[in-house]
Symmetry: C2
Subunit: 149 residues, 2 copies
Amino acid sequence: MLQLVLSIRFTRIMNNTRFATALHILTLLADSEGEWLGSEWIAGSINVNPVVVRKELGVLIKAGLVQSRKGKVGGYYLQKSSKSITLDEVYLAVKNTEVLGKKNLLPNPNCPIGKDINVHLGNLFSDLDQLVLHELRTRTLENFVAEFH
Amino acid sequence: MLQLVLSIRFTRIMNNTRFATALHILTLLADSEGEWLGSEWIAGSINVNPVVVRKELGVLIKAGLVQSRKGKVGGYYLQKSSKSITLDEVYLAVKNTEVLGKKNLLPNPNCPIGKDINVHLGNLFSDLDQLVLHELRTRTLENFVAEFH
DNA sequence: ACTAACTGTAACAAAAAATGTTACAATTAA
DNA sequence: TTAATTGTAACATTTTTTGTTACAGTTAGT
């Protein structure tokens, strides 16, 4: 029963703008090296609420991609060079489930297929996730930013 | 304005159990060749509502993967052999957006980055989608079903 | 010390998306 | 004619995402 509750809580998915938002933020930071950017300014470029930006920046900070400075002249700055940031790091920071989506929670254990389906789906989902991560790892933030010039 | 509304309407994503459900259905059909399965029975294996199953089957029928029979001894049957069904067909049938998620709707057109971000994100998203489709194309329903034996 | 301009986060509100449900017309075998 | 089924619309509910308000904590400049 506890297991069930836990699997409900952690079965989430990537059905959102978080990757787009995170990469937008990082692109802005990479493109304005030397300056610390504020959440208000970043939010103006993405056209979302500044609090949403600060929350996402919190995630990027935890992932070691961004640093922040508090106080009057506070703001955000890349923690590593854009050359050393690969897009799989961004994806891993924001993702909360697999690319093929969710599994059904309680397939029938008395059915030969239902009994094992989530194991086999799990393998498939995991394979596809690895594939995506591997590809994203070949792409750097520097590469991405260069496309804008 | 109309464009905006349309882009909202069609900016959906794969944050659901539809791929899992569709593949579960197809696995059952492939595994019981010779019999027509009813939506109630299928729903019992997945443990979801029969109407949800019928809706998803409607999608698989449109995709040319399943056929149906109405009336008293109605039910569902594969339209093609499991050997000739590849998993990209399943994914294409159920998917409604790209694997990396959604883009933000209205990035600032007065910002050099915001102005072009969706074009570049679009290219990236599309690349990753192609990668996933290509991999899924190498896997058949027959292969998948074989894992259960 | 005081103020102004920030970050960090909690708590809540609103909107959007996914899933479940009821109901019933249409179909078909017996 | 009946019983069992598909197909689908309409609506309800739940879950997830996104937005918002509020404010404590921090820091530079006066």
